[in-house]
């Protein structure tokens, strides 16, 4: 199948927009062919995941574009990288790896990308509006843009993000198109007590369960309270994109394309109906932990990057207590969010209490955490999913309230009552 190219697309391929646009357009068209797209469409912003260093190939690619004079032509934000430029001393990795990682970061900045260095670009002041076509990479950002903002991006990987940013074009396929955004599988939340539905910790667990059971379809979640907060939807989506291939979900009564269950399915019948029972939720929760211990060695929060509201909650939970000297307590967040949280007075008291803020990167993608033999506790299903493989640590998943209590005492503290009787 051939892709019908616009005059502009063809002029890129023909070299009239410069060599970088030719190379970028070649990649876009090859991907469009693989996606069976019949044409390309305009995108108004991009979020780049390619700026995280994974070895020589990613730097070769960025240099290949830059050497051809590449510049982005639409507003473009950068995802987390391998280094914390605000707290550089936190990096404990190989020196040469750090040098290469920095070269990669600098390369993307020189191409005109904004040095936002966050996996939660939707927490920045400027973010896509409903219906806007964008090219975002980073699995949790993709899910949030599609589901919560109602913007439209396909589930993009690295490389295409910067190509789309250079040309302002992307394949007209996948989640960009109305017909591919309707729900496939219905998840009925039923029989769970209301107080559990009002706890932050419920949402990443639900996301983990939904991701595992959605295949590559779009899940529709029915039975949640109306107007679930953005932070909870963020945690749900990030978990579902880790345990599964979810690029979009509908939460009836909360996300903009799902005012009703019927709207979410666009009148079609679900291909499958799954009842989310208390037993299934508890099983999903237990899957997120690899260990059980009476002590913990570290706490890692902020995957995806914590919002101002989440830092505020942390500030309130600490309530003048301090982190146990034998525990390392990390919170990953974006530099813009950290600046705002600082202005609002939440950061200094937390730092004084022993909390280590990590910006521009995340504790599970780069060597930042001090070696621990005891398990690491987290409130993030995504961190719980990836950290054991990436870092070789044992993980205990729990509510942020439990993470703070455990971080203060050093002893594992889990309030398991909330799962049973609220």
């Amino acid at each position: 199948m051939t892709v019908n190219l616009s005059e502009f697309d063809q002029s890129c391929l023909d070299g009239q927009e410069g060599p970088a646009a030719t190379s970028a357009m070649r990649v876009i068209v090859r991907l469009a062919e693989a996606m069976k797209a019949t044409e390309l469409l305009d995108v108004t912003s991009a979020h780049i995941d390619s700026c995280l260093y994974h070895g020589p190939a990613v730097l070769d690619f960025a240099k290949w574009l830059e050497d051809q004079g590449a510049k982005v032509t639409i507003p473009t934000t950068l995802n987390v990288s391998s280094l914390d430029l605000i707290h550089p001393d936190l990096y404990r990795g190989d020196e040469d790896w750090g040098v290469q990682a920095r070269l990669l970061m600098d390369c993307y900045e020189r191409m005109g990308c904004k040095p936002t260095w966050t996996c939660a670009p939707y927490q920045l002041e400027e973010r896509p509006k409903f219906g806007e076509q964008v090219a975002w990479a980073e699995s949790n950002a993709i899910v949030f843009a599609n589901s919560v903002l109602g913007a439209r991006t396909h589930r993009y990987g690295d490389f295409i993000d910067i190509c789309a940013a250079i040309c302002g074009r992307a394949p007209a396929a996948g989640l960009h198109l109305d017909e591919n955004r309707k729900g496939d599988i219905l998840f009925r939340v039923d029989g769970l007590n209301d107080s559990l539905l009002d706890r932050d910790v419920f949402y990443p667990v639900l996301g983990h369960l939904v991701g595992k059971n959605s295949g590559n379809g779009i899940p529709v979640i029915q039975g949640l309270p109306d107007g679930v907060s953005e932070d909870r939807l963020k945690a749900l989506g990030a978990a579902a994109a880790s345990s599964g291939s979810v690029g979009m979900f509908h939460a009836v009564g909360s996300t903009p394309e799902a005012l009703t269950t019927e709207e979410a399915f666009s009148g079609s019948d679900p291909t499958d109906v799954i009842d989310v029972t208390p037993e299934k939720i508890i099983a999903a929760r237990d899957e997120l932990s690899t260990a059980s211990d009476s002590r913990i060695g570290a706490v890692s929060l902020g995957t995806p990057h914590y919002s101002v509201q989440e830092i505020k909650k942390l500030f309130e939970l600490f309530d003048s207590e301090s982190v146990n000297p034998e525990v390392n307590f990390y919170v990953s967040t974006g530099r813009d969010v950290l600046a705002e949280a600082s202005l609002r007075g939440f950061v200094k008291p937390l730092e004084d209490a022993g909390v280590i803020f990590v910006t521009d990167t995340c504790t599970y993608i780069t060597p930042i955490m001090e070696a621990v033999t005891l398990p690491v506790m987290t409130d993030s299903a995504k961190w719980a999913y990836y950290a054991p493989g990436n870092l070789g640590v044992e993980v205990i998943f729990g509510a942020v309230e439990d993470c703070v209590a455990s971080g203060i005492s050093g002893d594992l503290s889990v309030d398991s009552k909330i799962w049973v009787d609220g």
């Binding site: 991907l31 693989a34 996606m35 995941d49 990613v58 290949w64 990987g157 690295d158 490389f159 493989g389």
Partner: protein, 133 residues
């Protein structure tokens, strides 16, 4: 028989058929090819030089980078066969082809075709398709 090349290329190797989809980032060590996702049923095995089969793709956007790095270093799979198209996987191979002139074939086949291969089979992927050797 319907077969779609998401990325054209040649490969020759032993089939490793995964029971579940695998996220390349966080799931495969790009330097060695080992499956490091310990929750994955094939955790601990190596994808290096294998014709990897999985029903569809999963997980992180950074998978494209891990695929490209595996093609560059030679520790990645020789080819990938799925039942559904996956753009994250295709992209890694497209980019390796553009910058190094090395493509790893990525193929989508129908279920009936997918089911004819099992772990341990030796297969050859050419422009014409997949053949048992």
């Amino acid at each position: 028989m319907t077969m779609i090349f998401l990325v054209r290329g040649k490969a020759n190797g032993e089939v490793l058929k995964l029971d579940e989809p695998l996220s390349f980032w966080g799931g495969v060590d790009p330097e060695t090819g080992e499956i490091i996702d310990l929750r994955h049923p094939q955790g601990g095995m190596s994808v290096k030089g294998k014709v990897l089969m999985m029903p569809f793709g999963r997980g992180s956007s950074s998978g494209s980078s891990v695929i490209a790095e595996g093609i560059r270093s030679g520790s990645g799979p020789a080819g990938i066969i799925m039942m559904e198209a996956d753009e994250i996987i295709a992209l890694g191979s497209i980019v390796a082809d553009e910058i190094y002139g090395k493509a790893m074939p990525v193929i989508v086949v129908e279920k009936s075709e997918y089911e004819t291969y099992s772990t341990g089979d030796q297969v050859v992927i050419s422009e014409d398709g997949i053949t048992l050797s």
